[in-house]
C-alpha cells in the first residue's frame, strides 16, 4: 500500500504552464489595460494643465500627440480604453447575475475583442476625417 507521501498528488495549475484561454487572457487584459489607462489619466491632467497655461504650452502637448509616436500611443490608448470599457460592461452584467453560461461567457468574450477592434478603427477613421 502506497503511503500518502509517495502517491502522485495533483499540482495546482501554474500560470507559466497553463494553456491560455480566452477567459483568463481577457481577465488579465482587463487588468493590464486598467494600469495602462492610468498613465493616460495622468496625461489627461497634463493636457488640461497645458490648456490652462496658455496657447504655447498647449501647442507643445498637441505636437507630442501629433507626432508619429504620439499617434501610435493614442491608438494604443483608445484600444485599451475600448477593451477596458467593453470588458467592464461584461463584468457589470456578471455583477447583475447574467451571462454565466459557458457559451455566453465565450460569446461575450469574443464580442469584447471584436467590438474593441471595430470601435478603435471607427475612432481612428472619425478623427482622421475631422482632421480633414
Amino acid at each position: 500500500m502506497k503511503t500518502i507521501a509517495s502517491r502522485r498528488r495533483p499540482l495546482s495549475p501554474n500560470i507559466q504552464i497553463y494553456r491560455p484561454q480566452l477567459t483568463s487572457v481577457l481577465s488579465i487584459v482587463n487588468r493590464v489595460t486598467g494600469v495602462v489607462l492610468s498613465a493616460f489619466a495622468v496625461f489627461l491632467v497634463i493636457w488640461l494643465s497645458a490648456a490652462a497655461t496658455g496657447p504655447q504650452a498647449f501647442a507643445t502637448v498637441q505636437s507630442v500627440i501629433g507626432s508619429w509616436i504620439g499617434q501610435f500611443l493614442m491608438i494604443g490608448g483608445v484600444f485599451s480604453f475600448f477593451m477596458h470599457l467593453c470588458g467592464g460592461i461584461r463584468h457589470l452584467f456578471w455583477d447583475a447575475g447574467y451571462g454565466f453560461h459557458l457559451r455566453t461567457i465565450y460569446a461575450s468574450g469574443w464580442a469584447v475583442v471584436i467590438a474593441s477592434f471595430l470601435l478603435t478603427g471607427a475612432t481612428w477613421a472619425l478623427s482622421t476625417y475631422m482632421a480633414g
Partner: protein
Amino acid sequence: MTAIALIPLTVWFLASVITLTGRDHAGVVTWLRTPSATICMVLLLVALFYHMALGLQVVIEDYVHSGARFPVLIAIRLGCFALAVTGIVVTLRISLGG
C-alpha cells in the same frame, strides 16, 4: 458605481476629443468653457481618479506582499487625489478665468 458613471463620461470625452481633432488652443478652451463640458469634465475627473485608485489598489494588494505594500497604497491614494484636484482646479481656471 464609478464604473457605471464612467461609461457615459468617458464616451462623452472621447466623442468630444474626436470633434476637437485639429482645433487649436482657442477652440479647446471655448469647448471646455461651455457649462456642460465643464460639469462633465469635473465629474469625469472625480469618477476617473476614484476608479483608478480602487483599481490600482487591487493590483497592488494582489502582487505586492513586501513591506513596500502599505507605503505604495498610500502613495496611490494620495497621487490619485492630487491628480483629481489638479485636474479640477485647471478645468475651473479655464472655465471661470478671464
